[in-house]
Symmetry: C2
């Protein structure tokens, strides 16, 4: 696919040829290779288009298991699939590993951070969301969030180092902040992290330290609202809270962090000394949504037409966590199945536009909700059925492994899980640098 001549387009850097210019077939550019972007790309496999996928990373990440990497239960590669491998057989797709810094809808171009530009006929924007500190960005360094593989490895490093530091301290007073873990936010990610941290302290590390008992570790889950997992029915939130307590988590609702620094968290008038603080409280949509000349919602999401295209830009589709979309009158939740479904609809609608056919509206098909809490603990709502405890957890395990990309990864994760379940071991407890920059 050699670049060919193209008419000069507004905004093109002088002397630079936009990548992807020329060629006989319409050019579809997909930015972001999460569940939405990847499903759009695959759906276009047999379409008469050229597809270019752009992502900052070279891998598709199975984000629902990211907390397992952050807590040393799985290695990074176990939940990541090289995008090139996934798309190897799809000859109409080119993958570029690059950082998109702007969209220029008038010029129909995507700008990369290295100065390159890529022109498109159709654009699918699927760059998702990242964590938000609600204007307190200086908290980021003290309380990392969990969105990328690098985030997960950083959190793993902090958790493991905290226990190592505790072993180096001589007295209990100085040891306690190293053994206090605060998770801020009682949504699915916060619940997973807190439950797994408690499991690590109570089971995984048992007998491994000589100067303190890891069971002394305190795991605090702070939720600003009235209950954890607020997207679930109240009785399942209640079940989740019970399971968290049984795992050893101290749950505090109505607790809003007012300040975070290197040494702890302030909640109202109270100061909690903790060297490890994890952020699971807020998400904000990718800043690329702001390039589209439409008013984004409070979370930065782009309101789209029923067919997922951007108002005034029928050639641009926004999908996944970046899109604000309603289905049957209800807002569509920011979950993987919704993103996948949107990817397919956006792809179909691009093909429809090319063929001058009418597009179809997106309708979310809700297969249920599932949240894991820890070892043999989860809650689930499937159709009218509510599950919790071991049955919910087994269901969760089955669903997540089933949807993991790649047969090998499924086997690896299943093996690691079975191993961890019987031995309480977490196989990826690996950390190298004893002198990190941020955590003292």
């Amino acid at each position: 696919m050699a670049p060919a001549e193209t008419p000069a387009a507004a905004g093109v850097v002088a002397g630079e040829q936009p990548l992807g210019a020329g060629g006989a077939l319409p050019h579809v550019v997909i930015v972001g290779c999460g569940f939405g972007g990847l499903s759009a790309a695959r759906r276009l496999k047999r379409a008469a288009v050229r597809v270019t996928l752009i992502d900052r990373a070279n891998h598709h990440l199975f984000q629902p298991l990211l907390y397992q990497v952050a807590t040393g239960g799985l290695s990074g590669p176990a939940i990541a699939a090289p995008i090139r491998r996934v798309l190897r057989g799809q000859i109409n797709a080119t993958m570029l590993m690059a950082d998109v810094c702007a969209i220029e809808p008038q010029a129909r171009e995507v700008a990369l951070r290295d100065g390159r530009r890529i022109s498109y006929d159709y654009l699918v924007l699927a760059t998702g969301a990242t964590h938000s500190y609600f204007g307190n960005e200086r908290w980021a360094v003290h309380a990392p969030g969990l969105k990328t593989l690098d985030d997960a490895l950083e959190i793993r490093r902090r958790i493991l180092l905290a226990f190592e530091r505790a072993e180096l301290e001589d007295d209990d007073e100085r040891r306690r902040p190293w053994l206090t873990f605060v998770v801020i936010g009682g949504g699915p990610t916060g619940v997973e992290l807190a439950g797994t941290l408690a499991e690590i302290a109570r089971h995984t590390l048992r007998g491994e330290f000589r100067r303190f008992d890891p069971k002394q570790a305190k795991v605090l889950l702070l939720e600003g609202g009235e209950r954890v997992l607020s997207a679930y029915p109240p009785d399942l939130s209640q079940r989740a809270a019970e399971q968290l307590r049984r795992l050893g988590v101290t749950l505090r609702t109505g607790a809003l962090a007012s300040d975070i620094d290197e040494y702890g968290v302030r909640v109202g008038d109270e100061r909690i000394e903790a060297r490890t603080v994890l952020w699971a409280a807020g998400v904000a949509a990718s800043p690329l949504g702001r390039c589209l000349n439409v008013d984004t919602d409070r979370a930065g999401r782009v309101p789209v037409e029923p067919d997922l295209s951007v108002p005034g830009h029928p050639e641009i589709f926004v999908i996944g966590d970046l899109a604000s979309v309603r289905s049957d009158g209800k807002p569509v939740p920011g979950v993987a199945p919704a993103a996948k479904q949107m990817g397919r609809v956006a792809a179909d609608n691009i093909v429809a536009r090319i063929g001058h056919q009418p597009t179809r509206p997106f309708r979310y098909r809700d297969y249920g909700s599932l949240a894991t809490i820890g070892r043999a603990a989860a809650v689930a709502q499937v159709g009218g059925m509510k599950l919790w405890g071991l049955p919910a957890w087994l269901f969760w395990l089955f669903v997540h492994i089933f949807f993991l990309i790649g047969f090998r990864n499924r086997l690896v994760v299943l093996f690691d899980w079975a191993w961890a379940y019987w031995t309480f071991e977490r196989s990826a407890r690996i950390v190298a640098d004893p002198h990190p920059r941020d955590s003292g």
Copy 2:
């Protein structure tokens, strides 16, 4: 093990109590948890001593497979075992994750970088070797070496990003340096890296790029001497060179790098444009050897007595790659089996000293040499027998997996290997940051 009162020792930081002071049993401090240090610690399991192990990392690394992590074939955790887990059942052993910056033989203390001090009755120094740039330390940033897990992940990042960059380039001229890989040094590590790189370009990445054929990639192995694997008999070096060529490696002997920068390597009058340069040419012993007040050899190794103790310091033992030791009149090679054997002898000799018994001299038991080259390619010398090709490779595979620490890791590595062999896939091809600092 609460710290108790101890007589003030020279060099102790005012007001700081050395860790490990007091206690009725002799205190053995082991610095470094590679094959030597870990085997010494385990050998002391039933001895009437207190053992403190200190390492910069929290894991023991199975270094012979590190090149597989560097080339995306295995994940880091697959070849690393948390030291605490390995020693969980050994109640006389305490593990500290810390950075030792000095040894003070007069004070019998170990100084940590954070200011803490640890007193010892017996010391085992097992901090091994790192790569040496022969005085050209500025090459380090352009040509990373392979000793730690972090090194391996950095090399993996560079290799994967080079191919990604090649896909972004428009013309062949600018693409070529990204597709040129130079490995400097034809010892076992250099041969492994070059062979595996060629395999990646020819097989693993086949069909995954749209703007170039990964087979265009050139892998150059530069060896300063006359032949690769110079520690082996000449005919096995010859076999290794043949196998490298068959895998697609361009081997150049008598080729000494005279300069390395971000864009390539100079060899004599010739300039080789290459964005990825890997260093496998030289090792230097850990700088801690210089704290012992003895003359180290040219490579920085500590010449030890036949019982592995340091001349003038019967309470200090040096083992593994840091020790310069002869057995049966021949220098002992820097290989894992030698380090393990030394660890056991040092442990036994400490027990002998405590019991006022004579120590025993170290004798190296040579089980043979093994070097892998790539897929189904290796050379081996076992007793009088020489092997190469598939038989040598199968033997290498068996030996390495057999000696991997941990049953789970053995299964994981075996599975990944079988998978990679049949599919040519490398499961850990994961990289995130498209804008690295060092490689442009």
